[in-house]
């Protein structure tokens, strides 16, 4: 192992679901302490803490420290929409790469059970007393519902439909089949918020949220946390053989934002920044999409999963529909995607997601995934999108030991 490589030493995700009796600090503390134990280290070894809780109040990192260990290390409280967890991880990695410390901790936590529709704003209050222009568009009323939609299911529905307009074949049934796959995968994941297999009929006939996304085709709001301990290659060499054997190499860690494109301020462009992040990640890691044994990508909606097959270059440009129909992304396919069940069934506690997907990949690379193990997995990719937009891509590799 090269001294300047970065490794995941310990990692953990809580079961995703409903925790009425636990707050965000409880969940984050569970994840942090378990990730440290998994890596065989303590808070004393950490040189940096990066923490995120998107919907919470500020200072989550320090609140966690006050429960698990206040050592005076720098804390970075990060916020980057649904890419918050990946941003926390990347922050810890950058600190190590910069030589400021040799071990760091990243944690993401969210309580979202029962929160409902994200990105939606309420209607104007009754009949306006006065039509008065405000904001950057000089609008006299809340425009959500009058000028398209800013809610998440509707936004990502349009992302998928746009792909269909460009390349064809993206029918309601196709999107529902993607969801069918992820719900089927979730039955093997005891940490998923929902483990129920759903038939195509059940998915298509469930409550329509924003055509073509029915309820089971949307990410599941739930509570959860995930944490990771990262270490430099140099430091890892001084640790035990067992720690070295279980350590997972971070072959690429990339974060991008959306570069200007025509229409990107009209409908968020989640494609260009993902494509750029993927390209950079493959170059950094020296691997190609065909080398990947599994992929956890940001299926916040079934319509999003389709476009990311293409954006992550798992298929030919424009070929995502055929790629899915070939069965490639089922767990027994060529490139298994979201064997955890994905955000649609595993759940999407926002700031935890960008570390939980890394956990899933690490679990397989370590050969510890039990009944859902992808046999012989050596290389995996984890992807998140935060609308607005931010994209995190990490490529992970099994230890050579």
């Amino acid at each position: 192992m090269a001294s300047d490589d970065i490794y995941i030493l310990g990692i953990y995700m809580t079961k995703f679901g409903k925790y009425p009796d636990k707050d965000t600090v409880d969940l984050a503390a569970e994840a942090v302490m378990a990730a440290l134990a998994d890596g065989g280290v303590t808070m004393k070894d950490m040189g940096i803490l990066a923490a995120g809780c998107l919907m919470g109040q500020g200072g989550i990192g320090q609140q966690i420290q006050k429960q698990v260990g206040q050592t005076g290390i720098p804390v970075y409280n990060v916020s980057n929409a649904c890419a918050t967890g990946a941003t926390a991880l990347r922050t810890a990695i950058m600190a190590i790469k910069a030589g400021e410390c040799d071990m760091g901790l990243a944690v993401g936590v969210e309580k979202l059970a029962g929160v409902g529709l994200l990105g939606a704003s309420s209607a104007p209050k009754g009949s306006g007393k006065e039509w008065k222009a405000s904001g950057r568009y000089g609008s006299v009323a809340n425009t959500d519902g009058l000028i398209g939609t800013a809610n998440m299911p509707g936004t990502f529905a349009q992302v998928g439909m746009e792909y269909g307009h460009k390349y064809g074949g993206a029918t309601f049934e196709l999107f529902a089949k993607i969801s069918e796959k992820n719900h089927a995968h979730s039955t093997l994941n005891p940490l998923a918020a929902y483990n129920k297999r759903m038939t195509l009929d059940e998915i298509m006939n469930d409550i329509m949220i924003a055509y073509p996304n029915t309820r089971p085709m949307c990410s599941a709001n739930c509570d959860g946390a995930a944490a990771a301990v990262v270490v430099s290659g140099k430091k890892l060499k001084t640790l035990s053989l067992e720690q070295q054997r279980r350590a997972i190499k971070v072959s690429a860690s990339v974060l991008t934002s959306d570069p200007y494109q025509e229409a990107c301020q009209v409908l968020p462009d989640v494609n260009t920044l993902t494509r750029i992040a993927a390209k950079q990640a493959y170059e950094q890691a020296g691997v190609s999409p065909s080398d990947l044994n599994l992929v956890e990508l940001h299926d916040c909606f079934a319509t999003a999963e389709l476009v990311h097959y293409d954006n992550l270059m798992l298929c030919e440009e424009g070929g995502a529909v055929d790629f899915f129909n070939s069965g490639a992304t089922w767990r027994d396919g060529k490139t298994p995607v979201n064997v955890s069940g994905g955000l649609e069934s595993k759940g999407h506690p926002i700031a935890a997601t960008g570390i939980a997907n890394i956990w899933e990949v690490c679990h397989h690379l370590r050969g510890e995934a039990g009944p859902r193990q992808i046999e012989g997995a050596k290389v995996g990719l984890a992807h998140v999108i935060g609308l607005g937009s931010a994209c995190g891509v990490h490529i992970l590799e099994k230890s050579a030991l």
Binding site: Y137, D144, Q158, M161, H165, I207, A210
Partner: protein, 132 residues
């Protein structure tokens, strides 16, 4: 009594031929509908007003059936390609069903009343309707 009309947004120009107006970067041609500090594409700071074509085609859409409290559903949210400029709008005067709304359908700008305020001013909204 003449009613004062106010547009739902600054970029909707009312009058005999209602249309949308964009801020176009004089340096690179990028178009924006909001108040600008600078160009997101080339960072220049000079803009001119340009009229947007009132006809276009639906490049993407969704039928929203579940929204925030008080937002009437269902409605069709769409991205309309108006001669190369993308516009966010609802598709109106059309059944909100996947049978009636289709990708690539031709549409044109239409306006409608959002009601009067206490001063008697009438707000005017816009959408795109199918070209029969």
């Amino acid at each position: 009594m003449t009613t004062t009309q106010v547009p739902l947004v600054d970029y909707l120009a009312l009058g005999d031929k209602p249309h949308l107006v964009a801020n176009e970067c004089t340096s690179c041609g990028a178009r924006f509908f909001d108040r600008r500090n600078a160009c997101a594409s080339c960072f220049a700071t000079d803009f001119k007003k340009v009229d947007i074509a009132t006809e276009g085609e639906v490049r993407s859409f969704t039928i929203v059936t579940f929204a925030a409290p008080g937002v009437p559903v269902p409605f069709v949210a769409a991205i309309v390609d108006c001669g190369g400029t993308s516009v966010r709008a609802n598709v109106i005067n059309c059944d909100p069903t996947p049978e009636k709304v289709t990708l690539g359908m031709k549409v044109r700008l239409a306006t409608y009343s959002l009601g009067n305020d206490d001063n008697g001013a009438e707000a005017i909204g816009f959408g795109f309707e199918p070209i029969a």
